[in-house]
């Protein structure tokens, strides 16, 4: 969280969470939904008899786009620094996935 110097931090700088920062994932999904719904609102059937004369797809699409971009911006402005050694997460008893296929750690 300290100082944002370079984008990727591969050269000895503190390493940022980057693409897999949860905020970028949220931002990507919401922005993608936003674009699709905005296009559907502009190009598709409007169906005013359902929504009571509001172009719901368009407005929701624009809002999602704004929120998605907001998450991207937040992740850029305040990057999360990943510590140099991240241990593999423990198996979580209430939500285990299949065994991770990773070579044993030495």
């Amino acid at each position: 969280m300290s100082h944002a110097t370079d984008a990727d931090g591969s050269d000895g700088q503190p390493k940022k969470a980057g693409l897999f920062d949860i905020r970028n994932i949220i931002g990507a999904l919401l922005a993608l939904y936003g674009v699709i719904l905005t296009l559907a609102g502009l190009l598709g059937e409007h169906e005013p008899e359902k929504t009571g004369d509001v172009n719901a797809n368009l407005w929701t699409g624009l809002a999602l786009l704004a929120v998605g971009l907001g998450f991207f911006g937040w992740a850029r402005l305040r990057p999360i620094v990943v510590p140099p050694d991240v241990e593999a997460p423990d198996d979580d008893p209430v939500r285990p996935g299949p065994q991770r296929k990773r070579p044993p750690a030495h």
Binding site: L29, Y33, I36, K50, T51, V82, V86, V94, P96
Partner: protein
């Protein structure tokens, strides 16, 4: 697409919801994200994913959202909107008297014991505090509860499959079961933190527009209250809907508690729903508690449910209000509420209150937004059921099979048992789903189950945590007697021994279970031998030194990052909300 068949009659094979390619595209994108991250997590493509999944120093907003998202499934979305459609505003008590105070209590009082003792499941805590008897009883009842609740999630999931594709309900159940099984097998749970946070945003992104469009259609809040008043005046004598006045005021909530007297009703809601059921649910439900256990310090673990409480207090506006709108806007719901029995519905056996949200989606969401809503619902029910099945799997293979049936086998052996348990649990859930389908309002069923399982558990936990004299024998006797007494109350009500509408029977059963458990535990403790005090450190309040219960660094944090002030603000906000409605 044919939006005009809305008003026409629904033929048996017609689908309830008309989805088109755009909707399926949005659903597909969601699953591509979720499964994609799951695959990358298992292949360890990035340190960042490991970092987020290990959760050792995650920002508190992430764990807080994961915490409420783990619960924002069937109970919340379908149950609360069904309740809203049937009973109106008193349903808000589930959030403002129930969940939020319980989450604050969990953070402030109980979390230090969970976090400090490093237990990974409820039965494990029971084992450490009380030994074998209570552990065995609790492991069995926990496993049964997970199977029954998985049935609820599966029934709702199958309802959506049926609404989309028009298949018979039993085919839909099997298909939904197969979908959940492949979701678990493909690693749908391995990127759980990502899934849960994504799921939260998708659900809000679909329910918020649904609420706003719905309000627009009925003419705003005033239009909604006018229509509820008008519907109540028009209702036929066959209608069992509560009066408009009861639907539009949260207190005293006679329709919810089933008591005729306002005073008894308030007591029933505060003690039955608020104290016993909700505290019991939130403080002993490790599917949620587990989210907080992954944080980096006691302070962060305690703040997880407290931060979750802030969004939680506003969730009812996007789940209960749509239910209320549905009851005055959707033709079938109006007919149902005025005493009729319209055809159709997700179960295929007539429209039920459970269908309130799906029918509203059908009537007000254009294609596009409809797909977003379907993605959110599918995600919530699937993740919910997968979590039940996994919790069952863990308790079955380690707490039951390994401890009591086959000890000292290899890890591979227990993993195989776990896989078999997963398949077995999914098949059993197809049958327990039939029980859930028998309830017109799934909330009644869920609260009944929580009364059976969580209320006695909460009594035993709270007594065991604060009274070091409580003995191992009292531990299991209290649990067994509590559960049996709750079942007895429920069966007596079903047999017609007394009459309480709404969720009154569940509140009463939970309260009786709690009282029976406490009384018996105290009596049995006085005549049996307690555990030595030295073994109770970290498990009992008086035997746990203060430094084990608090975070030494917390005093250095600014006030808005400390546990107690945050909890105080949340409590003040929820009190304001209680008085405002």
């Amino acid at each position: 697409m044919g939006p005009h068949d809305l008003t026409g009659t629904v033929t048996p094979m017609a689908t309830l919801i008309d989805a088109n390619w755009l909707d399926y595209l949005l659903v597909a994108i969601y699953f591509a994200f979720v499964l994609g991250i799951g695959v990358m997590a298992r292949r360890s493509v990035s340190d960042s994913i490991d970092f987020f999944l290990s959760g050792r120093s995650l920002p508190a907003w992430v764990t807080g959202l994961a915490f409420i998202s783990a619960n924002l499934g069937a109970v919340e979305i379908m149950g609360m909107s069904a309740n809203g459609a049937q009973l109106g505003l008193p349903t808000f008590h589930y959030f403002w008297v129930g969940a939020v105070p319980a989450m604050l209590f969990l953070g402030v009082v109980m979390m230090p014991f969970y976090y400090g003792s490093k237990v990974r499941s409820v039965p494990e805590f029971m084992y450490r505090r009380f030994g074998t008897g209570a552990h065995l009883v609790n492991a069995i009842s926990f496993a049964v509860a997970q199977l029954l609740i998985a049935g609820v999630n599966l029934a709702l999931l199958a309802g959506i499959v049926r609404a989309l594709l028009g298949w018979p309900i039993w085919v839909s159940l099997i298909v939904a079961g197969a979908v959940v099984l492949s979701y678990i097998t493909l690693g749908g749970l391995s990127a759980a933190i990502y899934n849960e946070v994504l799921q939260f945003f998708v659900i809000v992104a679909s329910l918020l527009p649904l609420t706003l469009i719905g309000l627009n259609r009925v003419g705003g809040w005033d239009g909604l209250t006018d229509k509820i008043n008008a519907a109540s005046d028009d209702a036929s004598s066959g209608s069992d809907a509560p009066s408009a006045e009861q639907q539009l005021n949260a207190w005293p909530g006679e329709a919810l508690s089933g008591f005729d007297s306002p005073l008894l009703s308030v007591i029933g809601i505060v003690f039955g729903l608020g104290f016993v059921l909700s505290f019991g649910y939130w403080t002993t439900n490790f599917v949620e508690v587990q989210r907080a256990m992954a944080s980096d310090s006691i302070s962060a673990a305690r703040k997880t449910p407290i931060i979750g409480a802030f969004p939680k207090m506003f969730v009812p506006f996007i789940v209960i209000v749509p239910g209320m709108i549905s009851a005055v806007l959707v033709t079938e719901m109006i007919e149902l509420k005025s005493g009729g029995s319209p055809e159709g519905g997700a179960s295929g056996e007539g429209v039920a209150y459970n269908d309130a949200l799906l029918l509203l989606m059908r009537d007000v969401l254009p294609n596009g937004l409809l797909g977003l809503a379907i993605a959110g619902l599918l995600a919530a029910f699937m993740a919910g059921m997968a979590a039940n099945i996994s919790a069952f799997n863990t308790v079955f293979s380690y707490d039951l099979w390994q401890r009591y049936i086959r000890k000292d086998h290899s890890d591979d052996y227990y993993l195989r048992i776990g896989r078999l348990a997963t398949v077995g649990a999914t098949v059993i859930a197809i049958f327990t789903a039939q029980i859930a389908l028998g309830y017109d309002n799934v909330m009644n069923y869920l609260q009944t189950l929580f009364g059976f399982f969580n209320a006695p558990l909460f009594a035993t936990f709270i007594l065991g945590m604060f009274w070091k004299r409580m003995t191992p024998t009292a531990g299991w006797v209290g649990l067994v007697a509590g559960t049996l007494s709750a079942i007895a109350v429920d069966r007596a009500a079903a047999a017609g021994a007394f009459e309480l509408s709404g969720q009154g029977v569940a509140f009463l059963a939970a309260s009786v279970a709690f009282v029976v458990d406490i009384v018996l535990s105290v009596v049995v403790s006085l005549v049996t031998k307690p555990k030595p005090a030295a073994e109770l450190r970290g498990l009992v309040y008086s035997e746990t030194p203060r430094e084990d219960r608090t975070d030494p660094h917390e005093a250095e944090m600014p006030w808005y990052r400390r546990t107690a002030p945050l909890a105080g603000i949340a409590l003040a906000m929820v009190l304001v909300l209680n008085f405002a409605f």
